[in-house]
Amino acid sequence: MRIPRLSILILLFFAVSCANLPNQAGLVKPEFKARLLLYIHSESAYPPDIRFTVDSMALQNSGGKWTEVAIPPVDISSTELSGNQKFLAELPVEPGRYKAVRLRIAKATRRGFDLALPPGGKLLFPMDIELNMGDSSVISMVWDAGKTVGKGILFQPSIVVEQEPLSSRGLLIYVTNSGSNHITIIDRSLERVVGAITVGDGPKGMVLGPTGERVYILNTISSTVSIIDTSNHFVFDEIGIISGNEPVELAVYSDPDNISPGEGKIYIINRGSNDVSVVDISRRRLIQTIPVGLKPSAIAVDVNRREVYVTNEISNTLSIIDVTTNTVKNTIVVEDRPSGLVINEDSIYVFNEGSNRISVVSQILRKVVRTINVGSGPKRGILAFSERLFVTGASGNVLTFIDPSGAITRTISVKGFPLNLMADEERYRIYVTAYNSSMVYLIDPNTEKVLKGLHVGKNPYGIVMLEQ
């Protein structure tokens, strides 16, 4: 079949369809208004034991109009909040300027004794926040627990409501929330949620661009790639990718000799159609589709070798794609259900969820040169802190610590389907997204313990640390 004829046929079909059918709205998704994500934290190191319960909330806009927002009751404890952050509510709101938030307190106690509440239990806190259409914004309530009780019995908490200014780029972490359509920004120096960015529907895979100036997010439901400018944390561009079924993960290749942040190719794995879509970033479009094995599950790129690696969960293989020709140049058999991979120097670590083992593939020899027993359905992993391996066993809700020798030093429980990991080697933390919860857990690689959990959006999936 000759291409030009097909083109003409499509154009004819297009014209006829348009001529005979009633006009309808374009393919614009339903309007998303704006979203407020409300958190509370306390910076008191040794606070008095004060607890209170919030059972209702209202926002006042610049015109003075109050909007009541129903929330499930939230219990807040000063001792639990010390050094931690608690999520209060996600509020869908109309765009505009807001000047106050009002909490209704159901109950407040100090060391178990009731405190006197203000009339109606209502407390008013001023703020000054402007929300544009489609914005997601994190509002922090900073509670000074030491200044909470007045006249020995009155509950008069000192709370400042603010939209925290973001720290320098290198201190921030992005988390995709596939159940919400936004990215959560975590400050790794403060270890709390400080911001949010609205993206497309179902954001899952996420990678940092080669220059560090862009982050690429795959929106699996809207079939788009959102490109975020990491200096100002806004969606710089959105590219449609109408190809392939069930896109889940992506990788970005940019010529190492090319310094421009807007150049390169995005490789997207499609689990449903068993292929990889190649999107040219500067041209903003799909340029090729490369068939790989059955159920591609993870993807990574090696810029220096100019290769892309894809694990295929049903075929039990690793496909190696040449980025110059965009063809599969090698297929290496690994073990049962390879679900994730990570590149380290001249090796690729493939996490075989079905066989409970990690296959170490030599990039030079193009074969499996070593296997490491894990025993917990390894799904994803990272190498960090002097070649130590950290492996999530999602189905078993565990995180396994493995020494460079291959010995398991500990397996700990991490609730909620732990999935993707990120290492903060400067501050000695491992961050793990728990897909079936709304949490990102912080883990100390030395003590091999969960330190705290940060509440993010629904179904957190990908996580990346920004670079300076």
């Binding site: 154009l11 200096s231 449903g272 159609s273 903003r284 589709t289 068939p291 025993g375």
Partner: protein, 701 residues
């Protein structure tokens, strides 16, 4: 054709958009990127300076149209211009996708897309890359899911003789069925994939890789999910068919239009030979026009149907002489050529003459001087009086170029299976076992060396026991993998691991791990490695942690008798005295001794000491310093300061025994869509010094 196509496409789209009833979701985007870069390198007295300016502009129009409630069309038309130095290129980029989504109860989706790029490589030639994709997916409830994908991409140029011309098509068909029967989750997947690539520049090449795969997996829980059993069985067949055309010369009898003859002319170089049809009548039984070789200067020739290259005559004869006599006769043949049957030129090389007794012909070969002409003749300068040798036929043989196809087919079959068993009888103990099997067989037309069969078997056991909750924990594992290729000895490896983890105090934790691994070839032990790792973690003070690691390892190579011992000690210390400050130091000392079979030994030691300090005095300032004290001394410092939301600066400085480097970057974003970047860097290494300056402005719509 291509440019016309684009113009029609653009015109049609714009025309439709201008119709009063048309409703589109439109989006215009674009960007401009201007870069200037200057690099200077000074080595001794030589200074090299390069300047590069580049410009890139791109504009794109996105169109989204829902034609009916189930059919939608989206697409875009983009144009790009880029110039780097003197090199310019421009692209036109139309792209369309048609999406058909029936109501949800059909669970079917059809989409078809077309994507085309026209890249101008010079004023006269463009390269077209176009790409079609079509897919249909159907996943009705309670029934298997079917997916069919087709991709076709083509790249070609507009030269009369193509410099670029290739086509690749891929078809993928997949059926997936997941269901539960008798409390068992069952998944079945079957697929067919075929990729066909054709290259049409020069010699045509074709590559085809059809493959079939099927896989079934089962999993089931027992005893309140305390026992989990999973198994999988897969089969695949992959073929690779490579075809390549090559041009080859073959000796073929050439078409003759006239037989020619004349006896003893005054001069063989200036003569017209008479038409003698019996010389080319394919009758080798009858003497042609009573021509014999009983006298010299018989001019026996032919006229070809056109000018052709000839390298050989077959002169068929009929004689009473025996074959041995005929083979011994010498006629002193000379070969002449002509393009008008008047003027003849002698071919200078004397031909080689052999007598073929089977075909009863003299084979007069001047192959080394194969030449092109319309008329050829052979003239005898000697004659034989012993017997009569009559000429019956003259045939001309020349090289004919023909295309032949090489075909190599390789096929590979694989059967694989796996079994997993996990048992957790109590909360404090769990156990898992896994087994995997794979049999691969390959066959190839290329030769027996490519025919092989490989069997692989792997198994692993893991257990984990919490002896004292929160305080004492054991883990152990064993794994074995064996590979038996038909062309090499069987190889296998074993790994045994045992570790003990103990939390003695909330601030004191340790673990001890032993790992033994060995490798065997054909059942004989080849190498062993034993290693013991000790980790101790100490919480010295709030925010101050220490980790001590010791690894002791012994490796033996059985064949060579080499033994290697190594030890390493690592101390890691981190402190976070304030929230804004983090300091960490890692010190590693390693020893290695290797003893060979002849008693010789070598020893080596290495030390590594690194330290990092990070400091965040405010949210907008970030400072870090890295110090390497061993094995070589180097320092690096990094600072970033976000002066305002729209202005950020970075500074780097590094120094070592080999080189010093420094860089500074300013990034200014006066408004969201415009970014201006200035970067300056300088590196000094010995007598050479290089500097780099970059200025870039990027603006987007």
């Amino acid at each position: 054709m291509s440019k016309r196509f684009i113009i029609y496409l653009l015109a049609g789209t714009l025309l439709y958009m201008s119709l009063p009833d048309s409703t589109f979701a439109l989006n215009i985007s674009g960007n401009a990127d201007l870069t200037y870069r200057q690099s200077t390198t000074k080595t001794a007295s030589v200074t090299t300076k390069t300047e590069t300016r580049s410009e890139r502009y791109y504009i794109n129009l996105d169109l989204n149209k829902r034609l009916t409630s189930t059919i939608a069309l989206n697409g875009s038309i983009g144009m790009r211009f880029s110039k780097t130095g003197d090199k310019e290129s421009q692209d036109f980029l139309p792209q369309f996708n048609l999406i058909f989504s029936p109501p949800p109860y059909f669970n079917t989706r059809f989409s078809m897309g077309y994507n085309r790029t026209e890249t101008g490589i010079n004023e006269s030639n463009w390269i077209t890359t176009d790409y079609w994709n079509a897919s249909i997916t159907s996943s009705p409830a309670y029934w298997p899911t079917f997916a069919l994908n087709y991709y076709l991409s083509r790249q070609f140029d507009y030269e009369d003789v193509h410099l670029v011309d290739s086509t690749t098509s891929t078809i993928t068909a997949t059926a997936t069925y997941n269901f539960t029967a008798m409390d068992t989750k069952i998944g079945i997947v079957s697929s067919f994939v075929n990729t066909l690539t054709e290259g049409n520049v020069g010699n045509a090449t074709t590559s085809e890789t059809p493959s079939n795969r099927s896989n079934i997996s089962l999993s089931r829980y027992f005893w309140g999910k305390r026992i989990s059993v999973g198994s999988a069985l897969g089969w695949s067949r992959t073929k690779s068919i490579q075809k390549s055309d090559k041009v080859q010369d073959f000796s073929r009898s050439q078409d003759r239009s006239e037989g020619l003859y004349i006896d003893n002319p005054p001069s063989p170089t200036s003569v017209t030979l008479s038409n003698t049809p019996s010389l080319i009548d394919n009758n080798i039984a009858t003497t042609a026009n009573l021509i014999d070789l009983t006298s010299i200067n018989r001019n026996i020739g032919l006229r070809l149907s056109a000018k052709r290259k000839i390298s050989k005559f077959y002169l068929y004869v009929n004689s009473t002489a025996t074959a041995a006599q005929l083979g011994a006769f010498i006629f002193g043949f000379n070969i002449y050529k002509s393009n008008d049957n008047i003027t003849w030129t002698k071919i200078p090389t004397a031909p080689t003459v052999t007598y073929n007794s089977i075909f009863r012909r003299y084979e007069i070969d001047w192959g080394g001087m194969a030449t092109t002409a319309e008329y050829f003749k052979v003239v005898n300068t000697l004659f034989v009086a012993l017997a009569t040798v009559n000429v019956t036929e003259l045939e001309a043989v020349g090289p004919t170029t023909e295309t032949v196809t090489d075909r190599i087919e390789t096929s590979s079959d694989r059967v694989n299976g796996s079994l997993n068993l996990t048992v957790k009888p109590r909360d404090w103990i769990d156990f898992s076992y896994n087994l995997s099997y794979s049999l691969s067989e390959s066959e190839s037309d290329a030769g027996l060396a490519d025919n092989f069969k490989t069997t692989s078997l792997g198994q692993g056991i893991n257990f984990s026991v919490t002896a004292v909750p929160k305080y004492l924990h054991f883990t152990g594992n064993y794994s074995n993998s064996t590979t038996s290729p038909s062309s090499a000895p069987e190889s296998s490896s074993n790994s045994y691991g045992l570790s003990l983890n103990s939390t003695i105090l909330p601030t004191l934790r340790g673990n001890l791990a032993y790992v033994r691994s060995d490798s065997l070839s054909d059942g004989a032990l080849k190498s062993t490695t034993d290693s013991i790792t000790t980790n101790i973690n100490l919480g010295l003070y709030k925010g101050v942690d220490m980790r001590f690691t010791n690894v002791f390892s012994i490796s033996k190579q059985i064949d060579s008798g080499t033994k290697s011992d190594s030890q390493s000690y690592q101390v890691f210390l981190s402190a976070r005295p304030w929230r804004q400050v983090q300091w960490s130091t890692t010190a590693v000392k390693s020893f290695a001794d290797t003893t060979s079979s002849n008693g010789g030994s070598t020893s080596s030691t290495s030390d590594t000491i690194t330290s990092t300090i990070t400091y965040y005095p405010t949210k907008v300032v970030y400072i870090s310093a890295n110090f390497n004290l061993e094995p070589t001394m180097s320092q690096s410092y990094f600072a970033t300061w976000r002066i305002a939301k729209t202005l950020q600066t970075n500074f780097n400085y590094g120094t070592s025994d080999i080189s010093d480097n420094m860089s500074a970057t300013i990034r200014f974003t006066p408004f969201q869509r415009l970014t201006i970047t200035l970067r300056m860097s300088e590196t000094t290494s010995g007598a050479s010094r290089s500097s780099d300056f970059l200025a870039r402005a990027s603006m987007s719509l």
